[in-house]
């Protein structure tokens, strides 16, 4: 059976950890990164994930910058992105597939992930 991989980019270790737990529980493999820059590095060194779960407010490289950086890399710009943010109005502006609003409801999050996950071609 094919592995389903998700990249979680989130600066808070605690939340990163619980997201990993929950996604594992749903049957996903999880790659994680502390910020946008690390996220790009993870993408370079691994096979493409089926979805990116992205926080916006992060040090070093934030969510917006990450999305911009991704646009210039053709292989990755097909990957769906689900943005996690406390600011729905800001998430709307960003070029993403879907967004979920903080405070996170696990059920809502998992629904968004399952809906948008795309098996790598």
């Amino acid at each position: 059976m094919e592995t389903k991989t998700i990249l979680v980019i989130e600066d808070d270790a605690n939340i990163r950890d619980v997201l990993k737990l929950a996604l594992n529980f749903e049957g996903y493999e999880v790659l994680s990164a502390k910020n946008g820059k690390e996220g790009l590095e993870v993408l370079e060194n691994n096979s493409a994930p089926g979805l990116i779960l992205l926080d916006l407010m992060m040090p070093i490289m934030n969510g917006w910058e990450f999305v911009e950086a991704l646009k210039n890399r053709n292989i990755f710009n097909k990957i769906p992105i689900v943005v996690v943010s406390a600011y729905s109005e800001r998430a709307k502006v960003i070029d993403c597939t879907d967004f979920v609003v903080k405070p996170l409801e696990l059920e809502v999050l998992l629904n968004a992930v399952n809906k948008n996950f795309k098996v790598a071609i």
Binding site: D17, P103, L104
Partner: protein
């Protein structure tokens, strides 16, 4: 009855009317005794002379022409008497003809009108004086009227009025018309005394002083050369006394020839002097009222400025400016204690022509070891005035090593040529926090006790403003600290709470999906189901705190969208219904159908939730009614309970953060709900009103403008 010629001669001779007979060549052939007495010459002095010899040449010319017409008529004439005084008279001339009708001469009947004329002149001068004073003219202008009248009444007189200065020791010019300016300037501000010329002596002794010959008068020793320089030979001076006998000044009459007054002239001097006294007293009264008004104005304006804003740094800047612009001072400044404990000039203002001189005074540090001026006032906590002694200043500047204040400061003071100053310490609760200095460089402007009182008053207002601002800053600081705490606490709490909540959600999901053995499940289920509502409550509290911190930082922004208001409201009510059910409180709703408009959906629901939960909390389980409808483009929402209510004095308080009308022992919550509600309504440019009566219930009405 036929009069014999002796009798006629006697009658003519003794008539109280003057009789003057001229021959056909207009030479005098006869004057009676009355004429001789009127003009003060012996009878023989007239014989063979023309009338014009006893008159001003120009006036004589006019009269001569009239006489040539040989008409019977009356003319006003002004003679000059032997003692040089003027004699006003009414002259009626009749031609004399012999039996054949030949013109042989003329006879004049001369009536002395001098007394009347003098009285009239002085009266009209007095009238002019008061007219000038009434229309607010200045003293010099008014006194000039008196000088004009006296100069028209006495030949060759140069009249002047000197005024006493505030101290009562020096005379300064009040008015003068023809007295040489150089002379007036030279005697300006001369000290009065027992041998100080005519005026100085008259002011000192309060008696009229007649110096009929300056060249020999011992009172004039000191000023003789000066008088000679300006060709002044005689001076009569009369003290001008107030009703209470205080010397207001002197009235002086100078002559370019040695001369003593006639009794008539002395009488005139007395009249003019008393008219001058009235004018000066009137002006003094007027000026003191005017000054009092100006001072009241100055204080009122200063207080207005100081009350303008709570930021005293800004408003204190305007105070020296105000004092200078009102003409109270030529140069004023305020210094304040900085955070490092050093006193520095804070704001400084001066008449524009002094701008360059005051530049080095900006941001000057005050050396409190100095025993002068403002340093002294601040060090010793006393307000005082002082006339500036420039010699001391020069010595201090020359001798810089004796702990003298900043030489730049002294140089500026010297350049300003200060005459007088007031130094006032600014005290807040016994501590000197700064000082106010006002100074004058006009010779006539010397500060005295009541000026000091005025500046103390202004200083007190300034100190008060500083104190208020400090208190305000303190309270602002503590509010800021609380806001900072809320902001940090809420952000810090949110992250661990998010992960905690997700972990619990995950756990409950695992239970649902049957991931545990049945016996574990049985024990785990109630634990997890009890944790979840607590976490919900916790999350809600944190969201509230976050809202507050955003409001504190004025971040509350609305996300306005066209929405189905009816649905938004119904959605929220159905969410809240379970809460009402839980507390067995009926909720009666009337919501208008098909309402729509621009609104921030989430915030609008927050308003409804806050008001309904508030009603639930304080509603005593009695029915709560909710109404929503649109009226004139405004969404109206009314929430009414029949609960405990609150008293009118609490109505203003309840919209403030952490306030609650009732004691917080009985009711949970942070007391932030209504505060947030009001902020949201305000952000919508709406209004929220509350009506309540103790024990009867409360009703809130929210009005939010809705654009379509």
């Amino acid at each position: 009855m036929k009069l014999d010629s002796d009798l006629s001669n006697q009658l003519i001779e003794n008539s109280s009317e003057g009789i003057w007979v001229l021959d056909k060549n207009a030479k005098t052939v006869y004057v009676n005794r009355a004429i001789s007495e009127m003009l003060g010459y012996p009878r023989e002095a007239f014989i063979g002379k023309e009338l014009s010899a006893f008159m001003n040449p120009s006036e004589a010319e006019v009269l001569k022409k009239k006489l040539l017409l040989r008409k019977d008529e009356k003319n006003d004439v002004k003679f000059i008497a032997a003692d040089k005084s003027y004699v006003w008279a009414l002259a009626s001339c009749s031609p004399l003809c012999d039996e054949s009708g030949e013109y042989v001469g003329a006879v004049g009947l001369i009536s002395d009108l001098s007394e009347r004329r003098k009285n009239e002149t002085i009266l009209s001068a007095q009238k002019n004086v008061f007219e000038i004073l009434v229309r607010g003219g200045n003293l010099t202008e008014a006194l000039n009227q008196l000088l004009i009248s006296i100069e028209s009444l006495i030949d060759g007189v140069l009249a002047s009025i000197l005024l006493m200065d505030e101290e009562g020791k020096h005379l300064i010019t009040g008015a003068s018309l023809h007295l040489p300016t150089g002379f007036s300037e030279a005697i300006y501000e001369e000290l009065i005394g027992p041998e100080a010329g005519s005026c100085g002596t008259a002011a000192y002794t309060k008696k009229i002083v007649i110096s009929s010959d300056i060249s020999t008068d011992p009172l004039w020793i000191k000023y003789r050369h000066l008088a000679e320089k300006f060709d002044l030979k005689a001076c009569w001076s009369s003290p001008i006394l107030s009703g209470e006998g205080k010397v207001l000044g002197t009235f002086a009459m100078y002559f370019k020839e040695a001369r003593r007054p006639t009794s008539a002239e002395l009488e005139l001097v007395k009249n003019i002097t008393s008219a001058a006294a009235l004018s000066i007293e009137h002006i003094h009264l007027y000026e003191s009222v005017k000054k009092h008004n100006e001072e009241m104005n100055l204080i009122a304006e200063a207080r207005l400025i100081l009350a303008h804003t709570i930021e005293y740094e800004e408003v204190l800047n305007h105070i020296p400016e105000l004092i200078v612009s009102k003409g109270f001072s030529d140069w004023a400044f305020i210094c304040l204690k900085s955070d490092d404990g050093v006193f520095r000039t804070k704001s400084i203002s001066a008449r524009s022509e002094l701008d360059d001189i005051i530049k080095p005074m900006q941001h000057l540090e005050f050396d409190l070891s100095s025993n002068m001026g403002l340093s002294k006032a601040m060090k010793e906590h006393i307000a005082f005035y002082e006339d500036q002694d420039m010699t001391t200043m020069r010595r201090l500047l020359a001798d810089r090593n004796d702990g003298a204040p900043n030489p730049k400061h002294i140089q500026a003071l010297l350049d300003l040529d200060l005459k007088s100053y007031i130094a006032v310490p600014l005290e807040v609760r016994g501590e000197v926090v700064g000082g106010l200095m006002v100074s004058s460089n006009k010779p006539g402007r010397k500060y005295r006790n009541h000026d000091l009182k005025l500046m103390i008053e202004i200083g007190r207002s300034c100190a008060n403003a500083i104190d208020n601002a400090a208190l305000y800053r303190e309270s602002k600081k503590s509010v800021q600290a609380r806001e900072d705490f809320i902001s940090i606490a809420s952000h810090e709490l949110r992250t661990p709470l998010t992960s905690l909540k997700m972990r619990v959600d995950l756990l409950s999901m695992m239970i649902e999906k049957g991931k545990f053995p049945p016996e574990v499940m049985q024990k785990l289920t109630p634990v997890v189901s009890e944790i979840q509502p607590d976490i919900q409550k916790f999350a809600k509290l944190i969201e509230t705190l976050l809202d507050i911190s955003k409001l504190g930082a004025k971040q509350l922004s609305l996300n306005l969208e066209l929405c189905d208001l009816t649905k938004v409201i119904h959605d929220e009510i159905s969410r809240l219904k379970s809460e009402f059910d839980l507390y067995q409180t009926p909720l009666i709703c009337e919501v208008q159908e098909k309402m729509s408009g621009d609104s921030d959906q989430v915030r609008l629901q927050q308003v409804i939730a806050n008001l309904l939960l508030n009603a639930l909390k304080f509603g005593n389980r009695k029915p709560v009614t909710f109404k929503a409808f649109i009226q004139n483009g405004t969404l109206m929402m009314e929430v009414k309970d029949q609960g405990i209510g609150f008293s009118p004095q609490d109505a203003e308080r309840i919209f403030k953060p952490f306030e609650r009308a009732v004691s917080d022992k009985h009711f949970g919550g942070l007391g932030l709900g209504l505060y947030i509600t009001k902020q949201i309504v305000d952000a919508h440019r709406g209004a929220i009103n509350v009506e309540s009566s103790l024990g009867k219930g409360t009703s809130f009405i929210v009005k939010i403008p809705i654009k379509h």
